[in-house]
């Protein structure tokens, strides 16, 4: 009988308590809990579509054991947009940066992470941070435009207040 491990962590601020088998992946736990923005695609860490923030850092949920996030703060795109669309999301809609939408949650997460680390990112910064997200509709150009637009708006907002 496999050992069951008691874990407690927070997802988007909500406390979660579960008993899981050690081989359960964070990706599957999150989807089971209803956070379906976290996507399975390649399962081997190449496509980035399962990216979530764990204690503020981007992590691939398909290569993370659920037992490993015990006590951690997990954030998915549902948590980022709790109080309405973020600037990144608004800009992505305006720039037509969404085609089928499968990879969109991860682009939003990585863009938010980038803007937390760099207030005025260059095009190269954006490409670097988004390089780990694969979009099979190949809609990268508009995504990059959107992130730069959101960055500009955010810095203008910060400047005017």
């Amino acid at each position: 009988m496999p050992q069951l491990v008691r874990v407690s962590f927070r997802v988007n601020g909500e406390p979660v308590e579960l008993s899981v088998k050690p081989n359960e992946l964070l990706l599957n736990t999150l989807r089971r809990l209803g956070y379906t923005s976290v996507k399975y695609a390649c399962g081997i860490g190449e496509c980035g579509n399962c990216t979530v923030l764990v204690n503020g850092e981007p992590v691939l949920a398909c290569l993370t054991l659920t037992v490993d996030v015990n006590g951690a703060e997990v954030v998915t795109v549902e948590g980022l947009s709790k109080h309405g669309l973020t600037e990144v999301q608004k800009a992505m809609i305006e720039e037509g940066a969404i085609q089928c939408g499968y990879c969109t949650p991860t682009f939003v997460i990585m863009a938010e992470y980038l803007l937390r680390e760099k207030e005025r990112p260059t095009v190269d910064d954006v490409r670097e941070y988004l390089k780990g997200v694969l979009c099979r509709c190949t809609g990268y150009i508009n995504v990059i435009k959107a992130v730069l637009k959101a960055a500009e708006r955010l810095s203008r907002k910060a400047g005017s207040s």
């Binding site: 050992q3 050690p22 691939l60 290569l63 993370t64 990585m110 780990g132």
Partner: protein
């Protein structure tokens, strides 16, 4: 039927949504505790750090440990510090930590080049340098830079520690000299002082593993290479130092035709294979170009630091 003797398959041919077997899980809080677990479970255990290599292998059943020991919660194994002529790097230091370290950028420039081009931000955020070395891929990008910085690794077990030159650490693809009860805890790399280093690789797209890679460390006086160390990745069963070519290169002017010719000796030192990423023929050809590039850019760094005399 017991699943036995199933040959390794293309990763994507398996279900990578789950880890298809159970294991016991431990989260030691001290190094001592981890080493005791390793001593107890030996070969049936695997150390989990970043998980970016191990969990992929577990998903496709390339490895099937009965016990997984997560060492990430052990404090004090994540650091980059200067110590005399060396830089000491804790095994749990992530690639992203290295990328953000000024010490690495200034004192181990080739390693800085390597981590900058390894995987995505997410992967670099998870993957540890200890894991990259212990996974012992011939394509491990941290290996050639550390080899040219004469790195040594500290292996610990409950019976004590031993220090092994990195060059002797790798045995073959996925194989090292580590015993089942040992854990890599620290890396010691010689600082670039008189010279400088650089790392170059070719891969098909941004996130790919290297088709081939080369790192070089050079000390140059008046345009003449005085000291040269060259290490290569993805062109042999393990990351290697090109010792014979190093000797041929010493005494030659940087950027010269003689140097270009001398690098042909690399063809004799490598033993590349043909696989999904490239052909042996191309690897044998391109590794010379990469070594040339690494020497050039290492030299540029030396020149920038000490303006031409």
């Amino acid at each position: 039927m017991v699943e036995q003797g199933i040959p390794p398959v293309n990763v994507t041919a398996r279900n990578t949504r789950i880890i298809p077997f159970d294991f016991d899980y431990y989260e030691p809080k001290t190094l001592r505790e981890a080493l005791e677990l390793l001593d107890k479970y030996g070969e049936s255990a695997k150390i989990l750090a970043g998980g970016t290599d191990l969990l992929v292998k577990m998903k496709v059943r390339l490895v099937e440990p009965r016990v997984v020991i997560n060492v990430k919660k052990i404090p004090g194994l994540r650091y980059v510090v200067e110590d005399g002529d060396y830089v000491r790097i804790g095994a749990l230091t992530t690639l992203r930590d290295l990328e953000k370290s000024d010490l690495v950028k200034e004192r181990l420039p080739a390693l800085y080049d390597a981590v900058k081009v390894m995987g995505s931000v997410q992967i670099r955020n998870m993957a540890t340098i200890g894991g990259n070395l212990c996974n012992a891929s011939p394509a491990a990008d941290t290996a050639p830079p550390l080899l040219v910085h004469n790195a040594r690794v500290v292996l610990a077990s409950i019976y004590g520690e031993r220090v092994v030159p990195l060059e002797e650490f790798f045995v073959g693809p996925g194989r090292t000299v580590m015993k089942p009860n040992e854990m890599l805890v620290e890396i010691l790399a010689e600082k670039a002082s008189r010279g400088s280093s650089s790392f170059k690789k070719v891969s098909r797209v941004a996130l790919d593993l290297a088709i081939a890679s080369a790192a070089a460390y050079v000390e140059v006086e008046g345009g003449i290479i005085r000291e040269a160390r060259i290490a290569l990745g993805s062109v042999a069963p393990k990351p290697i130092r090109a010792r014979k070519t190093e000797e041929l290169v010493k005494g030659l002017p940087v950027g010269s035709e003689e140097l270009r010719k001398a690098l042909y000796a690399l063809e004799e030192e490598v033993s590349p294979i043909t696989d999904v990423r490239s052909t042996a023929e191309y690897r044998r050809y391109i590794v010379k170009v990469l070594a040339w590039g690494a020497i050039e850019s290492a030299y540029e760094r030396v020149a920038k630091r000490a303006p031409a005399s």
